[in-house]
Amino acid sequence: MPTRAEQVSQILKGLVSNTPDVEGAAMVSVDGLVLASALPAGTDEDRVSAMAAALLSLGERTSQELQRGTLEQVYVKGSGGYIILMQAGSEAVLQTIAGSAAKLGMVLLEMKRAAQELGRLV
């Protein structure tokens, strides 16, 4: 029987390998720690997780301030692609990076499925 950590890791790897143009994914706790990751080699996971936590905090504040309700996603678009954050349960966030040619609808759909599974594990 795989451990919880192994199950989380498998879900992330599945998200990366099965979704076209998704280049990496990580599961980050709301206190800024990496729970599991399938990020490109050479990525500084600590910095990425801290930034994810900061983006989430800022997204929550902004959504609240502008009365847009509970935060669901944060989406950053750069010239090289996308970074998307999605809540995965109350204590963690799923973060995905995708290339600029990514079909966002597909990425978001797969992320939503993965986030629901991950949310049950953490």
Partner: protein
């Protein structure tokens, strides 16, 4: 029961919130505090969170540290080495120099309610000098008020003034400085057990000794952390009481 927040002075959040997210992650990774960095963009909501005991630990300005200590028993852990909170008294460039503290008598002084203004008011009070206070809501407003001529002097924060663009700074001069040896403080709620608070202190005071800590310090813009001396904060508590 305290919350799990890591609270950071809104002024410092506005200067770059990702630094504080890094610090929170660094500490959580080393010590497992489980704190969550929350963003507070103004002092009113920050004060409400502090008074609501939402912070497990925080990076607090000297007055908020004293408040947290008095209300809830927060313990000072460390402070940035070599970085001081200094009150600047500024005037428009080209105006005659005040020359002495007595020259402030009857003049209009723009200030933001807080510990820096209290330090200046205490000095003036001590010299028997009375000024007309022009109360404003931010250090930016202090500069604008003095710049427009609606105040003769303004009390501002060295960190704010020193970061203004050269073009803006050149319109003002620093007439006087009040530097009682204060700095923002990393402080911890007593619900963190004493060994945890000691570990946090050791972690921060030793940050400059290894590459991971050095990376954190570079992100924060600090050279190191240092111990928090009691004297300047005890003096500030006396000043705040005297000008209340």
């Amino acid at each position: 029961m305290t919350g799990r927040g890591f609270g950071v002075c809104p002024h410092d959040v506005a200067r770059g919130l990702e630094r504080w997210a890094f610090l929170n992650t660094f500490v959580n990774k080393a010590l497992g505090l489980g704190s969550r960095f929350g963003i507070y963009l103004d002092f009113v909501e920050f004060a409400a969170a502090l008074e609501g005991e939402e912070f497990l630990w925080g990076f607090l300005n000297p007055a908020d540290y004293l408040k947290a200590r008095t209300l809830f028993g927060y313990e000072a852990i460390a402070r940035p080495a070599g970085i001081r909170d200094v009150a600047y008294v500024v005037a428009r460039t080209g105006e005659p120099l005040a020359g002495s503290i007595e020259a402030f008598a009857g003049r209009r002084v723009a200030l933001v309610r807080g510990y820096l203004a209290a330090l200046v008011r205490h000095r003036l009070q001590g010299a028997g000098v009375s000024c007309e206070v022009v109360a404003v809501k931010s250090y930016a407003e202090v500069m604008k008020t003095v710049g427009r001529g609606d105040a003769d002097f303004g009390v501002t924060y060295n960190d704010h003034f020193d970061r203004l663009s050269a073009a803006v700074r050149d319109d003002f001069r620093v007439e006087a400085r009040v530097d009682p040896g204060l700095a923002h403080v990393v402080a911890a709620h007593p619900s963190i057990p004493q060994p945890g608070r000691a570990a946090l202190r050791e972690l921060l005071l030793g940050a400059h000794l290894d590459s991971a800590g050095a990376g954190l310090l570079a992100t924060l813009g600090f050279t190191a952390f240092e111990e928090v001396p009691e004297g300047p904060y005890r003096d500030l508590a006396d000043v705040l009481e005297a000008v209340r």
